[in-house]
Symmetry: D2
Subunit: 335 residues, 4 copies
């Protein structure tokens, strides 16, 4: 599939990825993981729900956990923000025009919220506003763990990257980086964004829909390392899912963890800015190990294979195709 | 003056501050200062012009020096990017409608470029495209000095903050932080932005128009310190114009230098994101020293008083009003 | 005075600066400053005493506050460690041989402790052991503020640098850096050390004896900045006594604060190692502003003029001599 | 084997690990790896030898490569410094008394140099002085790569940890951390030091003598990451031998590389200080994976199995015993 032209005049103005709604079997264990370990702020908790946000965020939440008995946990929604209330109505009209069901739902602490399923089967919810309160950005004495700054993006596995890419490109999402087959233009993964950096939504080929991970940005390399140290000190070292590395794609210095319900979180630093009309997307081939790790050590098999299912959607298998090298294969080749 | 509503549908889509055009009496001395000292990349130099850019930038330049004999140097243009070529035509129409002269000019390495004067008297030039080439972002062995990442904003003194603010608010610029008089709503300085962080253009009250400084972002605190160390090691320590500090406004960890022609550059880290519709601007009063420095030590008098004139424009004095405390006053109060 | 040869076989083996004993009018306020602000660990507190230590330290305390009504606070002792118990007896003999009074005193949490006055009039106490307990070094979740790692050195004003230098050189202290008059060999300040970096005890000319400051090391530049941010966030920004800078001498990236009783603390990073026999000391002249600040901005007058008195000792004035440039003079010269 | 008492009065005063002498088949390739990649300074090169040192070092070299055709490269000497010239004579006497051959040899840029083999079979050379010249510590514009500060330690495999430990303990080396069997006191690895941090010489059980690695310290976490980034950018990412991690032992944040001749270098930050008489060594059991990596991911098999042979010494196999978990085993257990 070719790179699609960027739609400068989409039907409505979706501005950024905003939040993720997941399930947890034990809200207290989840809270310990994210608050005591990684340093997110708890903005609300009751018997049914736990709300968290990061240091820069003035909105009420960027991460919501709902109590549920499912094991492992599932994802209930990926939330995006639109620019204005009127964009919600335009979105409803647009989705209706596409024959895609969308309904307004109630969400605590959020303004009017419109829910629909995207072509990958992901439940997306849109709102223009969320309850505001001062962030902890300048309450430096309350910074903890990885000093996470803001929710940046999600990566989602889908059986149909092409259809999903086309859907979001039409909504004004711009391709910044992408992975193809080796020597061909088959789209294997697409980094799509509305805000100024390289991604809000990443879709990559795999049994889907599944949430591969969600990611928080932090402003310093040492913060990522400190998060790892804190997790180790708390006896949570085994929750590290992929050790520190540098993605070729997006330039992120990263570390990945799995929470008590198996959800994967990335904390990273060093994104870059993409705004200008004629900045071309960067192309990587699946066989290039620098794609996912500039330094040589690729991700473990588990990192590629496991992901969070979406609530109420069956998995669809993608067409077969080449996959990236795993750490296990890398080590075997070494010997 | 009250906070103006954010115009969600401006006449044309200006996306960000892009570049600054300044004069230099000695392009080689200027090059040494910015390339050897602060770590910018030289993308072109001839007898008349020097072009520089930062690590993330794929566009040809974010800083242009033109050879001139004026001492001290002057500013010839502040450059902004628009989203599409068509936005340039919309801009021309819009400015004509306002009775404001605007003409297309030739600029090397840039697409069509539209030039006009804003209400502050600043010469602004707009373009949609600039020549692209791979950045040095992942050529880590070429990172030098402060590892400057991208041109972020300019701060400009003007005699008429209100008129300038109204002009840019109408163009879709959003107010993120602002300074008022003590206990009143007089606008003394406005942080205006189009991209996702807190500022592209900052206008503050003073004899104007003058360019107070332009600012590059770098991703780590230690990079700002390393820039200072490198400048010291090169015998350029005396060019530091204001020592390391933390702005209350915008949360920037900063350092300021003056180049060989007296132009002031800020290098900083730790901006934050502003995108959502209902995130309110932050208000500061001029008498609050935490505005400009969270830790107590305000800026020297010279930092407030000196700035780069704009080419071909006479200064206009602002109405009298309260000014911030200087370092000299702070030290005198201490004794 | 010339650089003295390093005594490789001193009468006893003093190994490092260990701790400082100060007075406080309000132990709770002192605790808030050092624990909540700068991140030291409280290892003991009762109505009369407060004990603190840093992240790497396994010994019980490196900072002791004794309740007292004196305002401003005074210093009661500078503590040093010796290698073995037997060194205490050798020290007692050696001091007796010099005609210098020394007596063993009881100190909670310390082994046998020998107290004497040095030629500057400073009350020095020596011990070989202190109560041990695991440090917080790998309890990363408990790291706070500036993540201070260990007590590194003290700087003391004295009227007689020469006599003090000779006394400590004879005890095996080695000169690593020093300040002389401009163009002469008058010793104005001496950096003396037993451990592997550049200083344990610094003596500089001034009305004395007074404790100019004590200093903790932290391993990252961003930690020093975070300490400043935390102090600002806690409303303690005005306690900053000298803003961030880089000493030419010792290469320290520093920040200074004054505690509630006026005692001055430096937090710094980037010391360097001095071990080898033929590494020569570095000489600086008093008129060289790079001595105290590589980047140009010298210290405020207050930083040079104020210091903590020692309990029960009258001040002696030094002979007149040249002093370093102050920030006030620097700024005046700028205008 | 029990922890041995620390000998406070050794026969001569060895002060620190100083340098390593290795062979290289291609001095230019070696130079590119260490100078362009990791940022060491070349202080001399001719057809036969290459000398390098780090930023803090005023001595002529801490790393010497001698041209040789052997593949893979071998280690020719581990160099240590003694306090005074007289210590060399005391060392010669002491070694003679032990029936251990030692002879004075000529080494360019070094003072008198005494060579002997230790009980592990390692060729050790001692000198009191080395040619001095100003370091690049404050020439910040010349800092490159990982900004390596000083040579810190070597780790050596030996068939007889007990004998080697006893030999060095008698020379005044102090045990700071150590690994035993699970539930017994068998010494599997010993961290031995003379200078103020946790190690100069580390001996661990394995076919020996082999140099497992030598290690340079750098003062910031981000420097270790930058070294990895630079190596990746130079196409040397595949030389990374073990990815970023945090050792439980010694608290080092580390990364390991293999040079063109297969020699392994560690770059690390965050050592800690050990000076006081009654600070007890830390004990770890071989089965505790936090020993080598606080976060869970142990080292690849290759990291444990491969090491540099010493010139002219045959390998001796150690008695069989338990080994640590490898990354391969860790990943297999995960699946």
């Amino acid at each position: 599939m070719p790179v699609l032209p960027h739609n400068p005049d989409p039907a409505f103005n979706l501005t950024r990825l905003s939040h993720v709604v997941l399930t947890s079997r034990d809200l207290d264990a989840t809270r310990a993981f994210y608050e005591t370990g990684l340093g997110l702020e708890v903005t609300g908790q009751d018997a049914e729900r736990l709300y968290l946000r990061a240091l820069e965020e003035t909105s009420h939440h960027s991460l919501v956990f709902e109590k549920a008995d499912a094991a492992p946990g599932v994802c209930r929604a990926v939330g995006c923000r639109v620019a204005q209330e009127a964009d919600l109505d335009r979105a409803a009209d647009h989705l209706a025009g596409l024959g895609r069901a969308a309904d307004f739902v109630e969400r605590p602490f959020q303004g009017r919220t419109l829910r629909f399923r995207d072509p990958a089967g992901v439940c997306v919810e849109l709102c223009a506003t969320m309850e505001q309160r001062d962030s902890r950005m300048q309450q430096f004495h309350l910074h903890r763990g990885g000093r996470l700054a803001f929710m940046d993006h999600v990566q989602i596995n889908t059986h149909d990257v092409d259809a999903t890419y086309a859907f979001y490109a039409d909504l004004g999402f711009r391709l910044t980086e992408y992975t193809t087959g080796d020597g061909n233009d088959e789209m294997i993964a697409v980094w799509l964004k509305r805000k100024n950096n390289t991604q809000d939504l990443v879709y990559s080929r795999g049994p889907g829909p599944r949430l591969h991970h969600f990611a928080y940005h932090t402003p310093e390399i040492a913060n990522v390392v400190h998060a790892a140290d804190v997790m180790g000190a708390l006896g949570l070292g085994q929750t590290m899912d992929r050790p520190l590395g540098r993605h070729g794609i997006g330039n992120a210095f990263f570390c990945y963890f799995r929470d008590p319900d198996g959800h994967r979180i990335e904390i990273f630093t060093s994104h870059y800015t993409v705004i200008d009309a004629n900045q071309a997307p960067r192309r990587w081939e699946i066989g290039d190990t620098r794609r996912s790790q500039l330094w040589g050590f690729p991700a473990p098999r588990k990192w590629f294979a496991e992901a969070t299912h979406f609530d109420g959607v069956d998995l669809t298998q993608p067409p077969p195709g080449p996959g990236p090298m795993t750490l296990e294969e890398y080590l075997a080749r070494w010997s």
